[in-house]
């Protein structure tokens, strides 16, 4: 495994994975992965294409069941065998395709599958109020009407709705898969601000990203997977761009210690 890096000050990670293996037939997708995700911190999960980022995410989300190893939730061992198990713990995932129905409006999408009822019929008023409140809390203010169909939203707005949908359910860990991949500069900023607000609300956030600009912009911690192994994790301040790229491409880095590039300004605001 990679270098030993001092853990962050938080006492116990909200979520821990220890010795996780996952294979698909003969293909070993994950090998002995240890991962820590802390409350109130944004962890960036980096890795090249096919490194195992998505498999790891889907294991945590309960879409795949792990072969070996153990997950811990707030210190207690847990089994996550289905998305329902994950949801029960408070784990929500925003996939890259967002999984929004274009023909439904924002409220309908946010409550899809968990609609509130009153005497058997949909309680639209109640749902609209709750959705409005969640969006306001997250300061997603650019949508003009909460009743507009999702098809009419911009990319950043759609991403925001997907995130709001995920955090609506008292979730404690939110995983975002490439949240800025398809977005322009303005909308990327909007989504990264939203990610920071999730952290400030005390959620554990994991962001999967290729984009090192975004990673250093928003991450408190960085974890890198390479060929199915988690080669390093630690506070973002212990990395710089070159070391992350080294870990992503070779699984090791000759560089270490505090970053020296211009991103220091960002970490100063925290």
């Amino acid at each position: 495994m990679g270098q030993v890096i001092k853990d962050s000050p938080a006492a116990e990670p909200r979520f821990k994975a220890r010795g996780v293996d996952k294979h698909f037939g003969p293909v070993q997708a994950l090998t002995q992965v240890d991962l820590d995700l802390y409350a109130g911190q944004v962890t960036a999960l980096c890795g090249d294409n096919g490194a195992g980022k998505s498999v790891l995410t889907k294991c945590i989300a309960g879409i795949y069941e792990i072969d070996h190893g153990q997950f811990f939730w707030e210190g207690n061992p847990v089994h996550v065998r289905s998305p329902r198990d994950a949801a029960r713990l408070g784990i929500e995932t925003v996939y890259q395709d967002l999984a929004l129905a274009d023909n439904l409006d924002i409220v309908q999408n946010m409550f899809l599958g968990r609609e509130r009822l009153r005497s058997g019929l949909l309680n639209e008023d109640d749902m609209e109020r709750a959705a409005t409140k969640t969006l306001a809390d997250l300061r997603v203010t650019t949508v003009r009407s909460i009743r507009q169909p999702v098809a009419s939203l911009s990319g950043g707005q759609r991403q925001s709705v997907a995130v709001a949908k995920a955090v609506m359910w008292n979730s404690k860990l939110v995983m975002l898969d490439e949240p800025t991949a398809a977005l322009g500069v303005v909308q990327t900023k909007m989504v990264l601000d939203l990610v920071r607000r999730l952290r400030d609300r005390g959620l554990a956030v994991m962001v999967i990203s290729h984009n090192l600009n975004d990673v250093f912009e928003v991450a408190d911690r960085i974890a890198v997977v390479h060929l199915g192994r988690l080669v390093t994790q630690g506070p973002a301040s212990d990395f710089d761009r070159q070391s992350v790229v080294d870990y992503m491409t070779t699984g090791a880095s000759s560089r270490s210690g505090p970053r020296t590039d211009a991103d220091g300004a960002t970490s100063g605001t925290r």
Binding site: A101, E115, L121, S145
Partner: protein
């Protein structure tokens, strides 16, 4: 499935803000009737015209057939009531077909699948043989339709067969089955015409009329009930600061509904018999409205309905939301054939019996054309129950007009085909312009 993709490039902030304001359906933020009306016009100009084309089509059909029908008989009370009765069959079939079309599937079999149900019902009430009470026979017929729908729906959802092929096979299978059921009669085709009160009930579904005074009272009760629902619902939402239409729009809707109801009752209450009296609202109108009200409530106000739209819009999103896709889809196929059973029962009542000559293939194409003409998308996810009524009236109008002109079955086939072609062309073009429109916006 093609979906509008997120924008690739970074627009400057002002352009982005401007685009965002342009994208909102303008009616949603309108504060007054004038504002709402202008917003509506903007939306029509941008290609998303809602039910406007189908209402225009109704007007044009009325004007054309009134002008060219012999003795300008099209708008006579007698013909209009006949038109309502003919349309009722198309409307009910269309409201059933809507459920599978919303999923992005299709059911070609409903003409004959419903025909099997109607044949069973009509056979069971025959006084010479089984003598079932009419309600038991109706339940049995509809139960047969439910079984057929469950069968086809299971094949489509569990075995993942194409609904087009499964129901195309069904079209043939149920036609044969219907002929077998009809062949069980001891002589000729089973009839609903008879003096026994049991068969009379089924005959009256289409041909019976409600006393004019009771018609007026019933219409008033229905209009008042709808008005109260609309008014209190909208004002409650306005008070709570939720998205709601302006007061004047709510009033406009209520007034329109009152006008339509008054006109229909007034037309039906004109004596339309050449000799003696024949007046009053046919039973079939409240029957159709009841089916409409139930299906609309289910689609708009229940979880099941919400999931139907979600599956039509993005099945993957629905699956991830924990929705049981197979169950919802199968249920839609069941509702579709069940409703078709009601439709064909009305048709049997209209014909005064069940005949092996009914053209179930033409009926299903009319049903599909009805909803698609009125704005339901064959690609799934977009459509309303009211589309069945509006589109069914258009198709009923064309069908009725062709009858008045004395066009024979050859021309009816050609016109059926053309109408369907026009309907799907409108659907595809509007879909294309909507997609290119959203691409242009971002």
């Amino acid at each position: 499935m093609a979906r509008a993709e997120a924008p690739e490039t970074a627009p400057d902030p002002t352009a982005a803000a401007e685009a965002a304001t342009l994208e909102v359906p303008p009616e949603l933020v309108a504060q007054s009737l004038g504002e709402w009306f202008r917003a509506w016009l903007t939306r029509i100009r941008s290609g998303d015209s809602g039910v406007l084309p189908v209402i225009l089509a109704l007007v044009i059909i009325t004007i054309v057939f009134q002008a060219i029908s012999p003795h300008n008989v099209f708008l006579s009370a007698g013909n209009l009531v006949n038109l309502f009765q003919q349309s009722a069959v198309f409307i009910v079939l269309a409201m059933g077909e809507l459920f599978v079309i919303l999923l992005g599937e299709i059911d070609l079999s409903i003409g004959y699948a419903g025909g099997v149900g109607a044949a069973v019902t009509v056979q069971l009430v025959q006084p010479a043989t089984t003598k079932w009470p009419w309600w038991a026979a109706v339940l049995a017929g509809l139960l047969v339709c439910v079984v057929i729908g469950a069968l086809q729906g299971t094949l489509v959802t569990r075995l993942r067969l194409s609904s087009l092929i499964v129901t195309l096979a069904g079209l043939l299978i149920w036609q044969g089955t219907m002929l077998i059921v009809l062949g069980l009669a001891f002589s000729g085709y089973p009839s609903l015409a008879g003096l026994d009160s049991n068969r009379q009930v089924l005959y009256n579904l289409m041909n019976g009329t409600i006393d004019p005074v009771i018609s007026w009272i019933g219409a008033a009760v229905v209009v008042l009930a709808i008005a109260a629902l609309l008014w209190f619902g909208d004002s409650r939402r306005r008070r709570s600061g939720l998205v709601a239409p302006p007061v004047s729009l709510t009033l406009l809707k209520i007034v329109l509904i009152a006008i339509v109801a008054t006109s229909v009752v007034a037309i039906c209450n004109i004596n339309r018999a050449a000799f003696g009296t024949q007046e009053g609202v046919p039973w079939v109108i409240p029957i159709v409205l009841a089916v409409f009200a139930v299906w609309m409530t289910i689609l708009q106000r229940t979880r099941f309905g919400r999931y139907v739209y979600a599956i039509g819009g993005n099945p993957e999103a629905a699956r991830r939301a924990g929705i049981n896709l197979a169950a919802i889809r199968t249920l839609c196929f069941i509702i579709c054939t069940f409703t078709a059973g009601i439709g064909l029962l009305l048709y049997a009542s209209y014909l005064g019996g069940m005949s092996g000559n009914i053209n179930g293939g033409q009926l299903v194409l009319y049903a599909i054309a009805s909803v698609v003409l009125a704005g339901t998308s064959l690609f799934g996810g977009r459509g309303k129950v009211i589309h069945g009524i509006l589109g069914g009236l258009v198709i009923g109008g064309i069908y009725n007009g062709m009858g008045l002109l004395g066009l024979d079955v050859r021309w009816q086939f050609i016109v059926t085909g053309l109408v369907l072609l026009v309907a799907i062309t409108i659907d595809s073009l509007s879909r294309r312009s909507a997609t290119s429109g959203s691409a242009a916006r971002v």
